[in-house]
């Protein structure tokens, strides 16, 4: 077993464990902190896949913005009484069954795929994925239109979020 494999296994176990704590822990603030741990594990996995920009974006956007937004929402909607009872609805056994069956089905389907054990190809030393990504996102021949549409969508969604959360009585 090589060092890379050991690092991958440690990251994978940490990520999956944190994700499991997100869905089963009772205290929502703890769940949000476990979510930060799981998102950080995903960032480490991006690094192992040679996607450095996505790892940085993951830390800045997911941990820096989304997870903090979640913590704010939990604190704004917190009521002491709700922390006491069970945090799952009566159908949790069915939910567990669906998730387990989906995992089994996905694993079975993927193991039947011929490229299932494709080894990682070498990236040639002249290729620079970061430069390629930057040029692809602003090049008219590549993804400039989806990129602009995504930014318009983000602005629209944020204005909509302000409008929805506006407190008209006291604001």
């Amino acid at each position: 077993m090589t060092a890379l494999q050991v690092i991958f296994l440690i990251t994978a176990v940490g990520t999956l464990g944190s994700a499991l704590m997100v869905v089963i822990t009772r205290n929502l603030v703890h769940a949000a902190l476990w979510l930060v741990a799981a998102l950080f594990g995903v960032a480490v996995i991006f690094v192992q896949l040679n996607a450095g920009f996505l790892a940085i974006a993951q830390v800045v956007i997911y941990i820096g913005a989304i997870a903090i937004l979640m913590i704010f929402a939990i604190m704004l909607t917190r009521r002491v009484a709700q922390d006491a009872g069970p945090q799952t609805n009566p159908n949790w056994a069915w939910a567990f069954l669906v998730a387990a069956v989906l995992f089994g089905g996905l694993t079975w389907l993927l193991s039947a795929w011929s490229g299932f054990s494709t080894p990682m190809p070498e990236i040639s030393s002249r290729a620079d994925p970061l430069r390629q990504l930057g040029q692809a996102l602003v090049s008219p021949n590549a993804y400039v239109l989806p990129f602009e549409v995504a930014s318009v969508l983000l602005v629209t969604a944020l204005i909509g979020a302000i409008m929805i959360a506006w407190d008209r009585k006291s604001g």
Binding site: A51, W92, A99, T118, L133, P146
Partner: protein
Amino acid sequence: MIPISWYLILTAALFCIGLYGVLARKNAVAILMGIELMLNSVNINLVAFWRYLTPEIIAGQAFAVMVFAVSAAEVAVGLALVISIYRRRGTVVADDIDMMRF
């Protein structure tokens, strides 16, 4: 070396954990956290397929960037809805939010 199967099984497990969170959790914010886990597993899948199958075409990473933007928009609107509902109805339990039930 690590074959692609390790990443695929990791993302399948992460997706199913997120799905369990979405289906089983009561609190609307916790449901959004489950959705975040599912989106993250999809992102790892996109990047893994880019790295293993088409490392010379950057499409996988570009698509992952789009997923980042869309999920940020989704979380902002979702949390605004949760806060608005909490202000009007005093609850964030998904089962109690049934104003639109026919």
